[in-house]
């Protein structure tokens, strides 16, 4: 019996050492993967000489820089009479580095500062690939294939991984707290044409349902051609919202929806919907 206990104790020690080594190795590999994902974006830009870039046609001094401000953008009452200045797209090099890139998403003062990929022929292509198309569990932010930037659909749905490291949409669930919402009302989307600004309108938990379920499916709303279609989406997101954001919308408004997995139910999703407000800079075509 004593001998048996000795052997068992030895085996348990071996297993413990093996588990520790494995845990350290896995943690190191995860860190490396996160670094690779960041490097894939950082190193992806194509070097452009100053002489080869076209000179921007600026009819008046730019009213805003491409760097997002922390102050919320409020809609103006009337369209401005002066011509909109066109400047070079701040993400031009990224568009040229990877033609699958549809836009760039920033939520100011958060880690969300990533390219958005759009691959209509294979929606999940970048689910586990980085910007350089290498395998990476962080993946990229994905624009739903039923969303479109040209022509622009009423709702743009962006999917991103809920990484435990906090990367991608790993901190999106912080919007559960109203205090977090108060400090992070603004979302910015840079498209090839312009800077699009949004303010958060609803935050809620939902899920992916079965095909035969007859319920409100936030992930099925892309286009509102009638007031009725708009109200169906708007009334539901307002009803589901964890708190009142004080932001309202009407037929004709456009939205952006950020979605990530959560685990409160099977196929759970955490969703942040924002309404488009006044756009920012307009950009020269990317060539």
């Amino acid at each position: 019996m004593k001998q048996f206990k000795k052997i068992l104790s030895f085996i348990l020690t071996l297993i413990a050492i093996g588990c520790l080594i494995a845990a350290v190795t896995i943690a190191f590999l995860h860190k490396k993967e996160d670094r690779d994902a960041e490097e894939a974006i950082r190193d992806a830009t194509v070097s452009q000489s100053a002489t080869s870039t076209p000179q921007p046609q600026i009819s008046e001094p730019p009213q805003a820089t491409a760097v997002p401000t922390a102050e919320p953008v409020t809609p103006t009452a009337e369209p401005t009479a002066t011509p909109v200045p066109a400047i070079e797209n701040p993400y031009r090099d990224y568009y040229l580095a990877n033609s699958d890139m549809a836009g760039w998403l920033i939520v100011p003062d958060t880690v969300i500062n990533y390219p958005i990929m759009w691959t209509p022929e294979d929606e999940n292509y970048y689910l586990y690939r980085d910007f350089k198309k290498r395998d990476n569990n962080n993946g990229c932010l994905i624009l739903d294939t039923d969303s479109s930037l040209a022509p622009l659909t009423t709702n743009l749905i962006i999917h991103g991984h809920n990484m435990k490291s906090g990367a991608m949409f790993g901190n999106l669930t912080d919007y559960e707290k109203k205090s977090y919402f108060e400090d992070h009302k603004q979302i910015i989307l840079y498209t090839p044409e312009c800077q699009r600004n949004y303010e958060v309108i609803a935050v809620f938990r939902s899920q992916v349902y079965k095909k035969t379920d007859d319920v409100f499916k936030f992930y099925k709303f892309f286009q509102a051609n009638t007031e009725e279609e708009f109200r169906d989406f708007y009334d539901n997101i307002k009803a589901l919202s964890l708190y009142d954001t004080g932001v309202t919308a009407e037929f004709g408004d456009r939205f952006i929806t950020l979605s990530t997995c959560v685990y409160h139910v099977t196929n759970g999703r955490f969703v942040v919907v924002a309404k488009e407000v006044e756009p920012g800079d307009y950009y020269l075509p990317i060539e």
Partner: protein, 265 residues
């Protein structure tokens, strides 16, 4: 001797613990074999290799490839330099065909699941194709039916491909970073795209599918319907990475167990 035994046991246990980590690096290629075809100037023949082409590789006559080919295999015809055409006839169902030839390649097969004509490739395809992809400046002529045809500008926003079909085309989509056009149900011989521009006569295709291109809607109860347990297709964005904290917890439990056993002694 005892020390050696201990060491061997320890090393074995370590290896057993680490194998699951690296198991994923050993991928199994579930698809068929891949054959690379290229024109060899020295002997003025098209030859093949069962590996990515290397100049020193032991390439063989296409006859031998024909003997080896089976359903599910992949063929890559990649020769951007030669002015020589290739007529390739294979009596199998290919899972994929890749073509990037400077001159026209005439390819015949039983069927092709995925057909890629890329860059400046030119090809005549004599086989029914499930998914066809014509990229950039490529030229593709499909002499049998095509289920899904995509015309893609992978660089920039301008479509440049030229595509024709003697068979019918069920679904056509042309896009770059944006969708250019999308149509359905081209009649046999009706599809014509020249330098990215759709030249087909109106009336020979439709703007909407005449039949659902996705799984049909559930039928009446007496007929088999789509599985009710099937979920909507939405990207799964969970963090699939294994949390090493579980291993550390297991290690702590094992250390505790080992210590408890020793203490009892």
């Amino acid at each position: 001797m005892k020390q050696i035994k201990k060491l061997v046991t320890l090393l074995t246990a370590l290896v057993l613990c680490l194998v699951p980590l690296f198991g994923n690096t050993m991928t199994v290629n579930a698809a068929g074999n891949t054959y690379y075809i290229k024109y060899v100037e020295d002997i003025q023949q098209w030859r093949f290799l069962p590996n990515p082409w290397s100049e020193g590789g032991y390439h063989r006559e296409l006859y031998y490839m024909q003997l080896d080919l089976k359903d599910g295999d992949v063929i890559v015809v990649d020769d951007k330099d030669t002015a020589n055409t290739i007529n390739l006839e294979v009596n199998v169902n290919l899972s994929s065909l890749y073509v990037n030839t400077a001159s026209i390649s005439n390819i015949t097969a039983k069927s092709i699941e995925n057909c890629y004509i890329i860059e400046n490739g030119k090809s005549i395809i004599n086989a029914p194709v499930k998914n066809a992809y014509v990229y950039d400046q490529a030229l593709g002529q499909f002499n049998s039916d095509v289920e899904n045809l995509e015309v893609i500008a992978s660089k920039g926003d301008v479509l440049n491909a030229t595509v024709g079909s003697n068979g019918g085309v069920k679904h056509l989509k042309a896009y770059s970073s944006k969708l250019h056009y999308e149509f359905y149900d081209f009649a046999p011989g009706a599809l014509s795209i020249v330098n990215g521009e759709l030249k087909s006569t109106a009336g020979t295709y439709s703007a909407a599918p005449s039949a659902p291109v996705v799984t049909p809607a559930p039928a009446a109860p007496s007929t088999p319907a789509a599985p009710s347990g099937e979920y909507d297709d939405v990207p799964k964005t969970a963090d699939v990475r294994f949390n090493p904290l579980w291993l550390m917890a297991l290690a702590a439990a094992c250390f505790a167990g080992s210590y408890a056993l020793k203490k009892k002694d």
